[in-house]
């Protein structure tokens, strides 16, 4: 175990030096950390140099494939976002929503929150939620008078609650697969866990700033948006309709009628192509280049994370981390669960579900005799916080991008109180899972 600890410190140390001393991009720092960890871990274990080099190269490339689907989703979602931004669709929708709902700002905020959550609910991905609905709602929030950081915080929290809300919760599905529990009965517990928090968070963060919304004062700022809306009419909203219809069809209906899921990347691309013809004239080459350039740092982080996890696992560091969490006294398990899973989520929230979520699901569902479905649902909510943890912080980083916040950490700071409330709520339901057994349905 001491050897694993040394490898752990080597990996973390190289990552920190790369990030903070040498100012390398996060993805490159993770690559360097994985490389050094592999060389130190394998050579110290007594593996020959040739074998070490061969395994290191193979595993680093293999690790990159762990996130290839997510990387494709991010790239195509960013293309969609840039297209609807350039076409004027975002402007038009902002103008429409504010005009219709400015008299009831609390209802408007809750509506916005549910819209942000929706793509996450049917894809199980916070990235999809933030980059699609989040990017659409960002200008609305900003026009309502929210500052960029608060708008980003609402979008980020909406993204992570959306990925946990039913019907599709990938985090819970990962844990279900790990302990062979069917994904049945989760709708009730997941609704209970997410919707009260969604309403609370959006009102907590947003209402103080919009409760005295004066539409007349806001009008001059909406001139451009109103003009775009009038110029193109309903036509400009077609990309949104296409996105929503394709998502609902392929994520909810298709499998039931025997049609294959096209996948989010194709859905985003199809919607983006439609967006080229429904509003302002767009230069596709320029827009796509800009989108990929914007998404590249995050895609690089995910590739680095893939290498990092693969090497952590191969060298025994992952086992060392898991055992360190589980070795603590039984009374502190809930604290360990609420801290270790989100922290591991800094590398990958779904990875945290598989590595730590599964043992904790056994502990609370079987060993401590709780309600398995409620326990799994609660653990999945805890794991969602991982998408706010740097360096990956998919929900937070993309929320910062769509709201124009340069330092993601400002959004993280704004989200600290909601995150604490979320962890306390999820932890309480996890510990008292039997008390919430009535919620198991769907």
């Amino acid at each position: 175990m001491t050897a694993y600890m040394i490898t752990f410190f080597v990996m973390v140390g190289v990552f920190m030096i790369g990030c903070f001393a040498l100012k390398w991009p996060v993805g490159v720092s993770m690559l360097a950390a994985a490389l050094c960890g592999a060389l130190e871990g394998m050579l110290a274990h007594g593996t020959g140099l040739a074998q070490t080099l061969s395994d290191t190269i193979r595993m680093m490339v293999e690790g990159e494939f762990g996130y290839v689907d997510t990387i494709l989703t991010i790239a195509t979602a960013m293309i969609f976002m840039k297209v609807i931004e350039a076409s004027g669709a975002l402007d038009a929708l902002s103008s429409l929503l504010i005009e219709k709902f400015h008299k009831v700002p609390a209802v408007l905020l809750i509506l916005i929150m549910f819209i942000i959550m929706f793509p996450g609910m049917i894809t199980g991905s916070s990235t999809a939620a933030v980059l699609s609905a989040g990017s659409i709602m960002a200008p609305v929030l900003l026009l309502l008078g929210l500052d960029n950081v608060t708008a980003g915080a609402i979008i980020a929290m909406g993204g992570i609650l959306g990925m946990i809300a039913p019907p599709v919760n990938t985090a819970a599905l990962v844990i279900c697969a790990g302990i062979d529990v069917p994904y049945v009965g989760f709708t009730g517990p997941l609704l209970l866990l997410t919707f009260p928090l969604a309403i609370l968070f959006v009102l907590l963060l947003g209402l103080p700033k919009v409760k005295n919304l004066d539409y007349e004062k806001l009008k001059p700022a909406l001139v451009k948006q109103d003009a775009t809306r009038k110029e193109y009419g309903v036509k400009i909203y077609i990309p949104f309709f296409v996105l929503v219809v394709l998502m609902i069809f392929f994520k909810v209906i298709a499998q039931k009628i025997g049609v294959d899921d096209l996948g989010m990347p194709v859905i985003f691309l199809a919607s983006a192509i439609v967006g080229l013809f429904t509003g302002r004239k767009i230069n596709p080459l320029k827009t796509v280049t800009e989108a990929v350039r914007t998404a590249t740092p995050v895609m690089a982080i995910l590739m680095g994370v893939g290498m990092f996890i693969e090497i952590m696992t191969a060298t025994g560091v992952r086992g060392f981390i898991v055992m360190t969490c589980l070795e603590i006294p039984e009374a502190l398990w809930i604290i360990a669960c609420c801290i270790s899973i989100p922290l591991f989520g800094a590398v990958s929230s779904f990875g945290a579900c598989s590595v730590l979520g599964v043992p904790f699901a056994y502990i609370y569902g079987t060993y401590l005799n709780g309600n398995v479905v409620v326990c799994l649902a609660a653990i999945s909510l805890i794991a969602s916080v991982g998408d706010m943890m740097p360096p990956t912080a998919l929900a937070g980083l993309f929320a910062a991008q769509v709201t124009g916040v340069k330092q993601y950490t400002k959004i993280l700071k704004k989200c600290i109180i909601p995150i604490i409330i979320l962890l306390v709520w999820a932890g309480f339901i996890l510990v008292k899972s039997k008390m919430f057994a009535w919620s198991v349905f769907g």
Binding site: M1, A3, Y4, G41, H45, S54, I57, R58, M59, M60, V61, E62, G63, E64, F65, G66, D69, I122, T123, G124, V168, T170, L173, V174, C176, A177, G178, I179, D180, P182, Y183, V184, K251, Q255, K256, D260, D261, G263, G306, I309, E310, T313, A314, T315, G316, R318, G319, V322, M323, L326, E327, E330, G351, S354, V358, P359, Y362, I363, T366, Y367
Partner: protein
């Protein structure tokens, strides 16, 4: 400055291309590596292709060999499946040991040691597992076998859906109390899990096609018993166990208590197949065929989440410091196997499978004389464990 940037870009690009090519060659070799199953001197009388039972499998990566071991006297029949999960090497190796060692004198034994050939052809990203395992036989030959992935290769079916909706396809249940619900939502990646795709769909994904072929084979040949060989991580609740469909519970119970525990000192649990967990061999093959459907599990530290340094040695010896710690804390409640020895060698894991299969077959013949299968040359459990070298049981 611009020139300097260009130079560094070129260097990074060259390194990336080198790494991609190096790793690509390694992936290509693994994808096309063919294990040498030795039939010479064994009781294998013929081989068939799995596509015989599903035409859509023909010439695909899932069109594997079925090894047929026929006794001189007619009797019952058994199908043994290995390699369902390719990261569970004892399941795969036990099937190979049985096809190379078993000599049926009555009845027929069908063995498919690599039922998920696609899973054997790659490794799981993020898991850091070895690509191969090696064994030295009694005559000094080194034989190489795959260590693969729990799921089929994405090259064969990609992308995974967000969720996998399991269905029973066009099959009609043959078991009167078969599970009523015909669909179930599972994690998207489970669409590539061979043991979640039964009874299978003839022209579905590669994984579903393979499952369909197995179900159809059992029905066509009227096979009496099917045994699926697995391993499970030590923290998984179903461990060192036989999971049995309702029809096979009695056979499993007698095998566990009398043949295994009382006669050979092998502690093994019997678990009834859950009726609400779909797509598994012990559930669907019990519901959709007339066979006794059983699945065997044995603890394997090399696939667990607590494991430390992961390499070929761990897969073979099962020696792991993290699991040792796990066995000592919280009164051992974190694990479902006795790991006090600090190891769980593959010779022991395979020996458990061989002994369990032999006991199940024997008891089927005892309870149903018309289905009797008699096998000679079954490797002795204690000899396999004491020898601690699986290579001695390979030809």
């Amino acid at each position: 400055m611009k020139k300097k940037g260009l130079v560094s870009t070129c260097i990074i690009l060259a390194v990336a291309i080198f790494m991609a090519c190096f790793a690509g060659i390694s992936f290509y070799k693994k994808r096309h590596f063919v294990e040498d199953v030795v039939t010479e001197g064994s009781a294998v009388t013929r081989t068939e292709k799995l596509s015989k039972y599903n035409q859509y499998l023909a010439n695909s990566f899932g069109d594997v060999d079925i090894y047929v071991l026929e006794g001189e006297e007619e009797g019952g029949s058994v199908l043994i499946l290995g390699g369902t999960h390719a990261n569970e090497p004892a399941g795969h190796m036990a099937a190979i040991v049985m096809l190379e060692q078993f000599k049926p004198t009555k009845g027929t034994v069908y063995v498919i040691p690599n039922i998920c050939q696609s899973g054997l052809s790659h490794n799981d990203p993020l898991e850091g597992t070895p690509q191969y395992i090696h064994f030295t036989t009694a005559n000094g030959d080194v034989r190489t076998f795959h260590f693969g992935s729990r799921a089929s290769n994405p090259i064969d079916q990609w992308p995974d859906p967000d969720t996998y909706l399991h269905t029973s396809g066009d099959w009609t249940p043959r078991y009167e109390n078969a599970s009523k619900n015909t669909t179930q939502t599972l994690s998207g990646s489970e669409v590539r899990n061979q043991n979640r795709c039964y009874p299978g769909i003839a022209n579905g994904t590669l994984t579903e096609k393979v499952s369909y072929a197995v179900t159809n084979m059992i029905n066509t040949l009227k096979i009496d018993m099917v045994i699926d060989l697995h391993e499970s991580s030590p923290e998984y609740a179903v461990n060192n166990a036989i999971v049995a469909h309702e029809k096979a519970l009695e056979i499993a119970g007698i095998s566990a208590t009398i043949n295994l525990e009382a006669e050979q000192g092998i502690k093994i649990k019997v678990e009834p197949s859950p009726v609400n967990l779909r797509g598994l061999t012990h559930r669907e093959l019990g519901d959709y065929t007339d066979a006794f459907a059983l699945l065997c599990e044995v603890g394997n530290p090399s696939q667990g989440r607590f494991r430390g340094y992961t390499d070929e040695a761990l897969a073979i010896t099962g020696k792991d410091p993290c699991y040792k710690v796990a066995s000592e804390i919280h009164n051992g409640a974190l694990l479902y196997v006795d790991y006090s020895s600090g190891d769980f060698p593959i010779s022991l894991r395979v020996a458990r499978h061989v002994a369990t299969v032999a006991a199940l077959i024997e008891n089927m013949g005892f309870d149903y004389p018309d289905k009797e299968v008699i096998i000679d040359n079954v490797p002795d459990y204690q000899e396999m464990v004491d020898g601690d070298n699986l290579g001695l049981w390979l030809r």
